[in-house]
Symmetry: C5
Subunit: 277 residues, 5 copies
């Protein structure tokens, strides 16, 4: 589980709760729960996304929420190690020996597995490159559907929040009765209720839809980085490159600090390489 | 029919109805129907689009609404199957044999049909690629006209909503008479009426124009994906590629889950391929 | 003349008139005509564009308004026919014979004429391609100036509308006198006047500047499409391609319906081609 | 001097003055001059840009304002003539003869001078192309800093205008005293003062920052066009192209009207070329 | 230290202090410090970023703030000098002699050091180019994370400011009591408190988040420029280019004024080069 996201959500709701009640006036919460306002804001957002997106997008929402909440499964360093491992195996025993090793990978690494099997099948290097690049392109295409959905929904939510407020204001102002001072009080209460939909719309967009959409985008970037490393590495293995060179090239994908943590083994690798010469 | 869109529209209107009446105060609906406000909001939006777009765009609206409402006609898996079929036929009986088969395709697959006929005509592979890519480019060009129209209209609608509200406020405030408390009530009613155009503009944009424009974009993406598959496949057939390899390459366009459902046949295909070796 | 644009403008103004007067209260128009407000909104917009653009842009405005109002002069089908005509001529009598034919074109087709003369001059095909592409690039560059001008102006107009409203509000609120109820009425009238500049700014942007800028963009797209067809066609003529193939390739630029209308001749062309083989 | 910009600024300020005073009530100006509001709006905008940009950007502001105010120094036609001149010289007397001629150019044409000297130095054509393209890229890079600065500042100005208004409103509403009608008048005056910062922020952005930033962008486009012409021309001279062909190619960069004015000489050039054949 | 940023922040806060108190009414500050409002605005912004970004982004914030506050460490001229130095060394004593010199570089120049070591290792020029370009790409990728974080946070801050204001308004209007004039005063005070969160959100975004994010972007551009110079230079050294030519090419990356300051040495260099011929 990726606890930061859940902590963020709980913290956000907690802060709103604190903002409303000041931790003392619990009764104030009552005026912030309006089922009719929820229906307009949440329902209207869903209605518009139903028109805007094919039904297939909705089926993917649970899977996407899971991705947004899960811990990142893609660790570039792990993939670099695995590829260097495959490269050494290929050097020693030839490309064909990789098939067995690849079949031993578990399901979460199916992209690496399939990529290795492609070069084992002795397919033309250019076609391997093309096929893997196509896979990356369709990865972009598919994943972008996830965050585009949340981005679009995050524009509908405040819009329906405002539509709900307009409904409230039009109803209230049309029946305005200022003949006594109690009319002014009723006006205040009416506006208070009308503003709740704007509040819901803004909260829905800024605490849930925008951040979740953005997290999906982040997750995609992490996955894409690892798959780029796999593509680069597999093609280098097929070309018969030196495992040390492959490691160096793939490490260019990592940031300095991440590489820094690896310095020890990196330096050792460098020395070995030199002593071999 | 693509029922999600229609369900979305009905649900959206139903929620607005519920928001206005609370299901009890049916009389409230009356103050939300203002013909003059509709004329400004809807009419003004149409007027501005009439200036902004050539008349040819308006003629296409019915066709586009039909596309937005119809069920998706483009199933990438069906196209992959058809292309693999053609590839096997071409392997067995040669490219020329495809002409008859292609003529047997029904009208909804005219792009596939024409693409097959191009390679039957023995045109130079590079030119085939160029012509089909041109077709895809002009597909983008033409379809983008559809959603650009709705996108542009969706910016005019709230603008005219606000213009209408300004008209109402200027009229009302110019004639303000606060000499008695009934003046305050009239002020309220005036503002109520003035806000209705803002309500119409926001609803028109967020429940109809934005979602429909976005759905047209989605439909285009689905069609484009299928046509990309056809282009990739037809060129591979012309190059005389192995039908199994073609199938594998085209499946890279699909998402994992869609491929997953095909695992059974996929694995079988793989085995066959290996046993053939 | 392109009547849709003019109809749109008249319809828009008519709807505003209807919105103000409801067709009964003609006196209401009076409060919507404020010369001081017009000066701030329109004048301010012009002042800011004077700072933002070189003077040469202003000289082009009449020509651009003419383009926005004129009927589209660029019909891709006409250009395809002309190019196929040239291609047939070139096949029969050689490239040099095109010079005379090209000189017979009237001025509105000067791009086609110059393009044909380039290949008659027997210039190297690559250079012809480069020169014509340069022309298309500078077409984009020059035309984009037109709509960029209107787009930029359309952001200034509502800004100066708001600035005018702020001036009105600051003036009025600074001199507020609520000691009697007539003060409230004066407040209303002051706000009414203040809001008129916002109304002007919004109307100027949404009924004139944005739509005209967009129409210029549309007109550019139509012209560019025709010129792309000319470039593609002329290069194919120089390469000595079959007129039928040229026709087919150029038709990929058209949308299906437009091609559909041509089906009859298209099919005939196909038959002819086959019988010739 | 580029008077249109200065005229625009004076006209804009004049219109604001007219909007405030109606040319009769000069006393109204007094309430529009608030030093505290200026400090927040202008000072806040400067403060945020100080954080957002390195100090080096601020040193360039005077030079950039000068560019925005100056008349355009870059006339593409002049550069085309100069390059055709160099091309004819190179044809007659060889590339080396250009060195002296280039050294005779004055400082404002240093880009042309350096470009000519590069080809005189007999550097490899590909490297010349690469070096000049690098220069154009770093021109884009450097100049974009200019307008990016004004664009960013133009987003801070209205933000600090609103922050100032919020300060005013919070102060005023916190001390509200409606016990007598004079309280309402004080409320009005407080709001009047509070709105002045919004007015300043909007005016600063829309009359100065946005237009000046845009003018810098326009000036860059003019300079870039001329330098592209120089690059294209110098490379053609190095390749030993015919001066007439060079002229024709470079004129593709100009718009039709500008070329039209040149028709006479253009036609003559064409005839000469033909008679030479 | 980069004092302009710190001066900007202090100046901004000082101006806000001046705007609130006018330097005389220190008591006014009291109404601008509301811990509950701070909790909603700052806390809500943090909560949403916690959902939107993986935890790894938060760990980098201190390092990024340090970069934003530090003086620019990347001086392109210094790098050009160092590379010209390496180029001369390589010319005299061969590529291998660079290893010792490169090891003498201090840690802040590790990119230059590693690049030099790559060519000392006699790796294939194309691979060197590819590896260094990969490093630049991942530099873009990593650094963009920094400013994207601040950009995203700068959209959440005003949103939570508005959410806080909505909470305040809904609470206040729901309990409105206008039965006596003290009710109006309470209304004013309530609105005053409600607006403070909007004030906080706007200040947080426009004085801190937006400018800091932008400064990070600027710092990245400076670093990237230097690293591009290193890549260009190192590859030229490997190709054995003339140190003078390398210097000329690298100076194309600098702006005119920066080059101007170097004119003296530049001219000298030019003369030397010529006299050597």
């Amino acid at each position: 589980m990726d606890f930061t996201g859940i902590i963020g959500l709980i913290a956000g709701l907690g802060l709103i709760f604190y903002g409303i009640t000041g931790l003392t006036d619990m009764g104030a919460m009552k005026s912030f729960i309006e089922y009719q306002s929820m229906a307009i804001t949440i329902g209207g957002t869903i209605a518009s996304t139903l028109i805007a997106f094919p039904i297939s997008y909705f089926k993917k929402i649970p899977a996407q929420l899971k991705i947004a909440v899960q811990r990142n499964r893609y660790d570039p360093k792990k993939y670099i190690d695995m590829i260097v491992d495959f490269a050494q195996e290929a050097r020693k025993k030839g490309l064909l020996s990789l098939e067995e090793k690849a079949n031993g990978l578990n399901d979460s690494d199916s992209f690496l597995k399939n990529s290795i099997l492609l070069i084992v099948d002795a397919i033309d290097p250019e076609k391997v490159k093309e096929m893997l690049d196509n896979e990356l392109d369709s990865l972009d295409e598919r994943h972008s559907q996830g965050w585009q959905f949340f981005e679009k929904a995050s524009t509908f939510a405040p819009a329906f929040g405002m539509i709900g407020t307009l409904i409230g204001l039009i109803n209230m102002l049309g029946n305005l009765n200022m003949d006594s001072t109690s009319g002014a009080n009723a006006l205040g209460q009416g506006m208070s209720v009308a503003l709740i939909t704007t509040f819901y719309g803004s909260l829905l967009a800024n605490l849930i839809l925008v951040p979740v959409g953005h997290k999906l985008h982040m997750r995609h970037n992490e996955e894409r980085l690892c798959k780029e490393i796999v593509v680069e590495g597999v093609i280098a293995i097929q070309a018969g490159d030196n495992p040390k060179h492959i490691e160096q090239r793939l490490k260019a994908f990592l940031c300095e600090r991440e590489r820094g943590e690896e310095t020890e083994s990196g330096k050792k690798g460098k020395k070995e390489k030199k002593s071999k010469k």
